[in-house]
Symmetry: C2
Subunit: 300 residues, 2 copies
């Protein structure tokens, strides 16, 4: 990366630094701080004139993070950045891509349009969709979502002997089933019905026979409250004595999710580093950097 | 108000209810809640088709509040609201209307443009400017800022015997001096220099003689950390034994501001109800309602 500058937003320091090493890029210097009245002050210190700029910002807690990101991106353009690429290792507001009951805001395209008014391009990992929609349907700018499947498959192969893979719901079953085929291990799926934000019900979608000699590996897009993962652990433990390995691409871990899963009987919890957490064991920086290079940024 | 609907956002319940009584309006019903992952779900329950809609939202903590407001306003339009008027008793992002050092984001017009993409009209009270800019220079939509001076003048006349008015800095001196003329009481001003967010220095701008029989009334746009007001109290107490009355239009009271002012020797602290706080003693709902009626909303 010859001429680029990479700005790391608060909360994305670990993944930002890891990306910087991938690119061998220069770190952009900006001051982003809150005034006592809650407004954000953004000051771009680096000279960005004529340069291609990357911003790394993981969009958990999106409501608080959007405006600082928006102000930074606009200011970079104001001071002459030739383009602004957002790397959002975790992207928000993609699940509400349809109305689930009358009167509901379909927030996904609204958020996408808003973000598209301040950045020129978006790269994210494993966008966490409800429906089959793709990023290009939501985003007017060029937006690509990289699959974390190869990294997770590789981690399983290297770290779990005799695994079998489990997807806790239909949303993740397709990519997890494909992963199981790729690494040639057994697969099973739960059917999930959601009762509330923190209550779900899981049933086995088929009369699966569970080989007690194999280690269950439950794989999901994200762990938020951990409700789904916990139900999967509890249900599995009725069928096998082996403690399951729990893997999620994005570890949000809110409302005591980590403690909840450990208490339910997780043997190990593993996440990628899209969101900084002690469970981070799979680095996604190389995958994201490769995607940046693929996407025709002239200088990479 | 024949056909209008008024939606009250979280944090604006008191002023919202007071406004509703002024208009004799129907309260709009919307669910605004956070998912565990931090995203906001907005659901408009009332039928808004063809109706004029008002949203009441005080924009302290603006970074968190902007996106829920944006999603609500867009959804109201989506479901057919004929127009959306935002009443922001306290408005944010108007102070950074120029760059104070190279590289700084000029956030005021950026915020104004963003807000203008989701609402059709804006009414606020006593916008808290640094420079002489007006709302119409910032906002592409029709935006009006009502002065709180008449209400404060009236409160002083009715509640303080033998007052003299003090403005703690040059920003507020013009409107406070005019108020002193209107109610025919003495006036003096401090010159302020700001060292940090929470440290200011005040000096008397003239060799004022202070009549020890009069009660000092310090008036400012806002109390945030209370740093300015506190310095004014401390400086004044060197010249008079009378405890000052401290009045602010907007009471943000962050970082223990209220306690700080009481400990410094405030005789009484009074605010308007733009932001809910125990010091609220001046209701602005009538003033805001009158402005709504003036601004050619056909149905009022």
């Amino acid at each position: 990366m010859k001429n680029g500058l990479l700005f790391i937003l608060p909360g994305a320091k670990e993944i930002g630094r890891a990306l910087m090493q991938q690119f061998n890029a220069e770190e952009g210097n900006a001051i982003i701080r809150k005034f006592p009245d809650g407004e954000t002050l953004v000051k771009v210190v680096s000279d960005v004139y004529g340069r291609e700029v990357l911003i790394v910002c993981s969009l958990n807690n999106p409501d608080e993070k959007l405006l600082p990101l928006y102000l930074l991106a606009k200011t970079l353009k104001e001071f002459g950045a030739s383009s602004v690429l957002l790397i959002a290792p975790y992207l928000a507001y993609i699940r509400q891509d349809k109305s689930f009951s009358f009167g509901e805001c379909i927030s996904a395209p609204l958020f996408a349009q808003l973000l598209s008014t301040c950045v020129d391009q978006l790269i994210t990992l494993q966008p966490h969709f409800h429906t089959g929609k793709s990023l290009s349907e939501l985003y007017p700018i060029h937006a690509s979502g990289v699959s974390a499947a190869p990294l997770i498959a590789s981690w399983v192969v290297n770290n779990v002997s005799k695994p079998f893979l489990i997807s806790p719901d239909n949303e993740s079953s397709q990519w997890v089933e494909k992963m199981a085929e790729d690494i040639q291990v057994p697969f099973m799926a739960f059917n999930k019905s959601r009762k509330t934000d923190e209550e779900v019900e899981l049933v086995l979608s088929q009369m699966a026979t569970i080989d007690g000699a194999r280690t269950p590996v439950i794989i999901d897009d994200a762990i938020t409250t951990g409700a789904t993962m916990k139900e999967a652990i509890v249900t599995l433990r009725k069928f096998t004595a082996k403690l399951p390995v729990c893997i999620a691409v994005h570890g949000l871990f809110v409302r005591g999710a980590f403690e909840k899963l450990m208490m339910a009987g997780a043997g190990k919890i593993v996440t990628t580093n899209t969101l900084s957490h002690p469970t981070n064991a799979i680095g996604v920086e190389r995958l994201l950097a490769d995607e940046v290079c693929k996407n025709s940024f002239v200088l990479y």
